[in-house]
Symmetry: C2
Subunit: 469 residues, 2 copies
Amino acid sequence: MNQPAHHPSALRKPLPDALLAALSALLGERVGTSEAVRQHHGKDESAHPHALPDAVVFAQTTEEVAQVVNLCRQHRVPLIAFGAGSSVEGHVLAIHGGIALDLTRMNQVLAVNVDDLDVTVQAGVTRKQLNQHLHDSGLFFPIDPGADATIGGMAATRASGTNAVRYGTMRENVMGLTVVLADGRVIRTGGRARKSSAGYDLTRLFVGSEGTLGIITEITLRLHPQPEAVSAAICMFPGVDQAVRTVIETIQMGVPIARCELLDALTIKAVNRYSKLALREVPMLLCEFHGTAASVEEQAKTVQGIAAGHGGLDFEWATKQEVRTRLWQARHDAYLACMQLRPGCRGIATDVCVPVSRLAECIAETNRDIATASMPIALFGHVGDGNFHLVILVDPQNRSDLDEADAINQRLVTRALKMGGTSTGEHGIGIGKLDFLDTEHGDAVAVMRSIKQALDPDNILNPGKVIRL
Amino acid sequence: MNQPAHHPSALRKPLPDALLAALSALLGERVGTSEAVRQHHGKDESAHPHALPDAVVFAQTTEEVAQVVNLCRQHRVPLIAFGAGSSVEGHVLAIHGGIALDLTRMNQVLAVNVDDLDVTVQAGVTRKQLNQHLHDSGLFFPIDPGADATIGGMAATRASGTNAVRYGTMRENVMGLTVVLADGRVIRTGGRARKSSAGYDLTRLFVGSEGTLGIITEITLRLHPQPEAVSAAICMFPGVDQAVRTVIETIQMGVPIARCELLDALTIKAVNRYSKLALREVPMLLCEFHGTAASVEEQAKTVQGIAAGHGGLDFEWATKQEVRTRLWQARHDAYLACMQLRPGCRGIATDVCVPVSRLAECIAETNRDIATASMPIALFGHVGDGNFHLVILVDPQNRSDLDEADAINQRLVTRALKMGGTSTGEHGIGIGKLDFLDTEHGDAVAVMRSIKQALDPDNILNPGKVIRL
């Protein structure tokens, strides 16, 4: 958000004709330079100003990716991997021009290993496509960032979402990668063994590197058994503090909660209006439990008891799909309901994550900002992880709106860092949180920079993202 | 194992007097050069030949570690971090001489955060010490590699053990680190937030780097709730295949099994003799379940049903501590029982990890090697992860024994790699598996080398381990 409206780039220079010719010779029709295709690849879901690539190429194989990388390196032209375009911190914007490498045509599920609970996919497979593919296997891939992102993009941004409290993030669920390096070499990291102490953990280095260290073309993922039974529960609380205390105690009791979401009072108000519900307009906790029929019942009842001890109200739980859907309706409708608080606006999303013991305090302080802001701001939380989001509803044409949103974001991140948290729990750095990375990691950023320089000395891969050189 | 009996080292040169003087000025009595202290720091639990450091220093603070690093760098002298000395691939041997940096006096538990289920410790804290410290907190640290290793050493080797199938390895349980780099800078990686997408994952880069990229001085760890109830179960099987099929089905059913160990027939025979038991001399599966009282009963019964479908015999399960201890006695006594198969011998330990679907086949082929070997070889497995160990009982004075053990290890690792596995599931590379790392990771090893060179250009930190330069 703290970016100028335009990205004057010293690196941006006209695309060499020779490069375009070589790309066309390699990929034929799969090179696009039309305004439409460049527009589509020059934006993401963030409010950062669009920044169009000079050309877009569509790769179908790892070998093609390697050849594209080699050509871009020879011509010193930036190369930006592109999946679903659902990132929210400007990760895929071509701020220095160059080539967008669209990987969505690499959308094959290569191997499902049911006995080993793993799968290998090409980078362009989306998470919904993968789960559809797995439907009859008894297994599923739990990471759900909301958008139907590509697995390659999710790996590159270390995505997570509502299920992370039980199943972990991409960090815990990526077992191995095929990566094209900046010098065109193709490496395989990790593997299909459940654990390994063999050498440096390159897999985890590329997961979350946002396309700046290499281009991920294939991913091996852990899968999980589809739960035999699911139960859902909701509960209203007099304040956020009581809701958070309930979650802390639930986790301390060892309840293997699968999802645990918090909606604040403003969001409930928006949902009541949008979906014609009559929920008490106080903070709401939504939980989901996975296990055997007996176990999900026991888990729900345990949480009911804990919630009662913290002033919980209107507790309801259910195992039947229809009732669960009704209970979780407020969560499902929250985003659209909040957007209706200011029709015609655009939502700027930001997220932080703090130790859960500080979550109530962090939300309380943030709510004071929200109360005095000139625009509506919704707050959602993956509260089991201490992770929460703001969606700040701005008029994208209004500079003062953008400045105010920026200031709110600045204060939010500063607050989270002061509480031992992180500047982003699951969105990534992109261009929007570059300054915060320095504040958060200090001298460690210099180590990140050394690694970037060692692996991409010409700064070809998604330049200007994650770290400043 | 595939190392010469001596380590002629071009790097080894006399320790500069100026360095020793500077270290003494810094640490006073905490610099040792006696034969005894050098002997103690010149060996680990492996059969690799001892290689003594020229001096040993005992640090008490991160700042002292940084100063020691600076001195060693100025004098171009190797520096080897040393904890409990329980590594098994020669990780801590001073093969090029230099200084052993003993971190065991940095043994403070710095902060327990019960609400956040995390703890920060100094590198020299051992896992038993930590769990003793946590005893009344309702939390515990699950990673159990057998030895009472230091947390710093466990992080450096990406250790795991019997609980990994449920709780993960050090990779999943280290949240953040304080690291002294080769140039003396002190950085903090990761943090106390449960998840973060902020920048490259340096934490996972240092976890498993075996002291070659930096010296870990403090570690923040995830903790887990002490289970309300525990049940244990054992079952005998006509063959390894049936035992493994039982485990695969158990995991596919979503049973959150906490421990799952396999003993082969030879080990059972040894245990029967050593502990005067009367177990059927066939492969044995030992399981442990953590949860509520109702849940651990349900889990045990589910596994009983699955085992029955695969020819399981003599199934017993229990929740009472005394009975559980009796059921698991074979596992607890296995190592000592196997050592008695050849009194006066030394056990050479090696481990591999394969996708669990290949585990039975891998063990069957390995058992053919074991059957024709001239020495007894015990086989244990953390079967839920596809990880298993051989303990090869050799006369350490007998060259032909060592060569035979080496050949068996070579074939074991080659077999595991052919099956999509890894050369080491939890022991690490050290000096014993350097060649295998190349075979396993190919061109990716060059990337590891670039990272080593970027972070430790003078090759001061534990030179000769993990990767060859």
